[in-house]
Amino acid sequence: MTIKNTEAGRIVQDLIRTIHENAAYLSEIDGKIGDGDHGINMNKGFTICEQRLADQEFSLSDGFAVLSRTLMEDIGGSMGPLYGVFFDEMSIACADLQEIGAKDFLVMLQNALAGTQEIGSAKLGDKTLLDTLIPGLEAYSAALDAGKSFQDALKDLQAAAKAGWQSTEGMIAKIGRASRLGERSRGVLDAGATSCYLILNAMADSILRMLAASK
């Protein structure tokens, strides 16, 4: 089963909607051990992207490219480069594809992770968005290895990303703003891990909807 690159631009629109809906929640979480602007930062980038994509036809790879460029042009801080490179790698990995299959999506996620780690130098357990991304990707990869379908692998991704996100509650921040707090950073969710879960979850939902429709 595959989805058509040209038709999958709506995935980007779903992401934008998800971030809009959760902006306040993301800032609220960031406010507990960060500076309370994660929702503002994300929403600013995704809103500008929405304006750039308005009234246009675009493929998934093009949509990701615009999103990435917007994040890198219009929002500085940490989220600009981290999600900027994330969507840049996603876009590059599918730019030449007409049909995107389960394996293709794996490569997209792998490259996105590699780019994010290259830029941010964070590891699993540092209490960042990687604590959502890495388990999600691993579960998806394992599902494919085990011969599961695209759909089932996406559901495994969602479940593992959610578990990974929630695991950040028990972690001490090792990187970023909250790392100064040491032990005091334990007991609350990580803001970036939250937005990453929302993004992976929404992306998987969109693909699942498209796969269901194309049956």
Binding site: M72, E73, I75, G77, G80, V85, G120, G176
Partner: protein
């Protein structure tokens, strides 16, 4: 507090417009609203000098654009890293084909955005190398130098890198000089009153009346201790006690000293502290080659000072003594 502004969300935009209008003899706007450049940049046959960082540190960063200083600067929101595209556009604005030295401070956001910009610059065939300032010796122990933040020592790094580039050095030589500058530089700050990010509207850290925070960062990052407010002489002693053993500086050394106010501290008080700094250095057999005292690297209306000491050899002295013409540092 009574802030003089229009829309708090556009203080950076408004400030940049005013800055370009007032200083058109030195700086120009570029195609990217968040990038300013030296009006003569790119300068044929010269390595380009780029920096960038969050706003609110006047004259840093844009005030150090100019002749024999920085060629282009990426501008972020208040206390927040510029976007990767701003760094990239600054690199392009500074590039004359001999490569670009990106000399910036060690903050997570800046590190990521510069890295991101370098990925793109490489793809465009622009050679970029970096020096990451980590002069704040109160921000991490000595065995974790890579965790230390960059503070006012960045000014000396730009001065050295800028001079070296104007002398005609190639990229590796410029990078080596700027790296030598920051490797021989140690800073420490004390805070006596906090500041407020305009769009936030209240201070995001506190310093109680009658106390001071030793080792505070340029954005109010926690220091090494909160102590009762000391006298100016004691403050000079406390800061040097952190700085001198760290490099270490020793009798016979020559140094450049930069003492900067954090914004609202009267320059008078800065000279009172400097008076004792110079005395202590003299007592220890350390000779001050040159001193800069004033508001060189601020944090909005924070109160306090940062002290920066750089050990200099002949090469660094030559670079420091080289003329410069920027808004924040002019030297004849």
């Amino acid at each position: 507090m009574n802030r003089i502004m229009n829309d708090p969300n556009y203080v950076v935009e408004d400030m940049l417009k005013g800055f370009v209008k007032a200083n058109a003899d030195i700086v120009s706007a570029t195609g990217n609203a968040r990038v300013l450049k030296y009006k003569n940049a790119p300068i044929a046959n010269k390595v380009g000098i780029v920096t960038g960082g969050g706003s609110g540190h006047k004259p840093a960063f844009i005030g150090y654009i100019g002749k024999n200083m920085c060629d282009a600067v990426a501008v972020g929101e208040i206390f927040s890293s510029p976007a990767a595209a701003a760094f990239l556009d600054a690199m392009q604005a500074a590039n004359a084909g001999r490569g670009v030295a990106c000399l910036y401070g060690n903050y997570a956001g800046d590190n990521m955005n510069v890295k991101m910009a370098m990925r793109k610059a490489k793809a465009m065939g622009i050679e970029v190398k970096t020096v990451v300032a980590n002069d704040d010796c109160a921000s991490a122990p000595k065995d974790e130098l890579e965790k230390r933040r960059g503070v006012a020592g960045e000014v000396l790094m730009w001065k050295v890198g800028g001079a070296k580039a104007s002398m005609g050095a190639d990229l590796d030589t410029v990078i080596a000089a700027a790296q030598k500058a920051i490797d021989n530089t140690r800073s420490v700050g004390i805070g006596t009153a906090p500041c407020t990010i305009p769009a936030v509207g209240h201070p995001n850290f506190t310093i109680a009346d009658g106390t001071m925070e030793l080792g505070i960062g340029h954005h109010g990052e926690p220091g090494v201790s909160v102590e009762p407010l000391a006298t100016a002489n004691e403050i000079a002693e406390k800061m040097l006690k952190l700085i001198l053993p760290d490099l270490p500086f020793a009798a016979g050394d020559e140094v450049v000293v930069l003492l900067s106010g954090l914004g609202a501290t009267p320059v008078m008080e800065q000279y009172i502290v400097y008076n004792r700094v110079e005395e202590i250095l003299s007592e220890q057999g350390i000779r001050v080659h040159r001193a800069y005292v004033g508001n060189y690297f601020t944090s909005l209306e924070m109160m306090g000072v940062t002290l920066t000491v750089m050990k200099v050899d002949d090469e660094l002295k030559q670079c420091i003594d080289y003329p410069a013409d920027s808004v924040g540092l002019k030297q004849l």
